[in-house]
Amino acid sequence: MRPTRIALCAALFALHLSGVAAAQVDRGERGTDAERMALGPDVERTVGKPASGPISGPALDQLTQSMAKRMRCPVCQGAAVADSPSESARNMKQQVRSMIAAGYSEDQIFRYFETSYGEFIRLVPRAEGINLLVWAIPLSGLLVGLALASGFWTRRKWIAEQKVARESSAVSEPGRAQPSNDQQRLLDAFRKEAESDDA
């Protein structure tokens, strides 16, 4: 590439980085680390005591990331909390992290968020009740489609076979019906008699 193009690409890349950095700046009050790791309001009243003991270290990061991927950011257009740079998403991820660190289970954490945001906060709906339609309708649609397709294919094959059968019979005796075996024997017998008479 020419030098000017390289410079332009580098400048755009740097701009992008600064944009990403800007997106990470909170416009709200961050609070101290202790304040950020605190559980939000009413956690125990909503979902009870933690299901297990405290978690920390890499397991904490992994579990947080895994849950954040399955939680919808309500401010963004259907993006996951894990993927959104918005402050709301980062606050939600922090809240998830605080609850996992305290030992709350995934089910408890989702229920906490569902209490305020509704079931829509889950990117993957609970597999129960009317939500089962999410899986049932596409699957049955596929099966119905396959059945229809195989039906059409069978019908076309049948029509083609019929057409071939008619054409082959038309070629052998154009415009005339084929005599049956018995009739053919009778005809042969008559022909022999006629020939012997002629001879």
Binding site: D26, R27, G28, E29, R30, G31, E35, R36, A38, G40, P41, D42, R45, T46, P74, V75, Q77, E87, S88, N91, M92, Q94, Q95, F113, E114, T115, S116, Y117, G118, E119, F120, V144, R155, I159, Q162, K163, R166, A170
Partner: protein, 198 residues
Amino acid sequence: MGQDNQQQGETASTGQAQPSRRVSYKVIIGGLVIILPLLWVLFSGLFMDPHRMDAPLVGRNAPAFDLPELNSDGTRSLASYRGKPLVLNFFATWCLPCRSEHPVLNQAARQFGDRIQFVGVVYEDKRAVVNAWLNRYGGQAFPTLIDIGGKAAIAYGVYGVPETFFIDPQGVIRSKHVGPMDPMVIRSRIALLVGGGS
């Protein structure tokens, strides 16, 4: 015979059979049974707001909070407001519709303040800029709290500003209004709040 057109599907000229063209009513009805409900669902989706979220907290207890006050060192909790109806307004200085809403809230606070408690909660904003903004857009007829780390907003299911919660003296959320309010909206919501409706 080639001229016999009464036989189904045979044409006069070629003598070859054509596939039956009579349409099966079962197929039509089956197709409609599948297509019509689907069309109805898709059509009704045209009238839905894609940004709107559920408000499952309406009718349930308001989440407890304990937030620092804007202009003092103390904190206020939800419980400290119990016994009086509460209008809880989430706002931010970067929120443009909030600029028209804040004077309306101030006016309502001055008018109803003896019977109803108004409280503002700062959402995703810095303490330093809030006072100037409040004074510019109608003053401070009611106290303001700061939501640190957005935890109160998450507990209340806030996904944008302004959002206002109308909470009864027992601490139950009676209604929620998303978007800026004008005097008429505030008046009707307050009437429901003190009148015991939902």
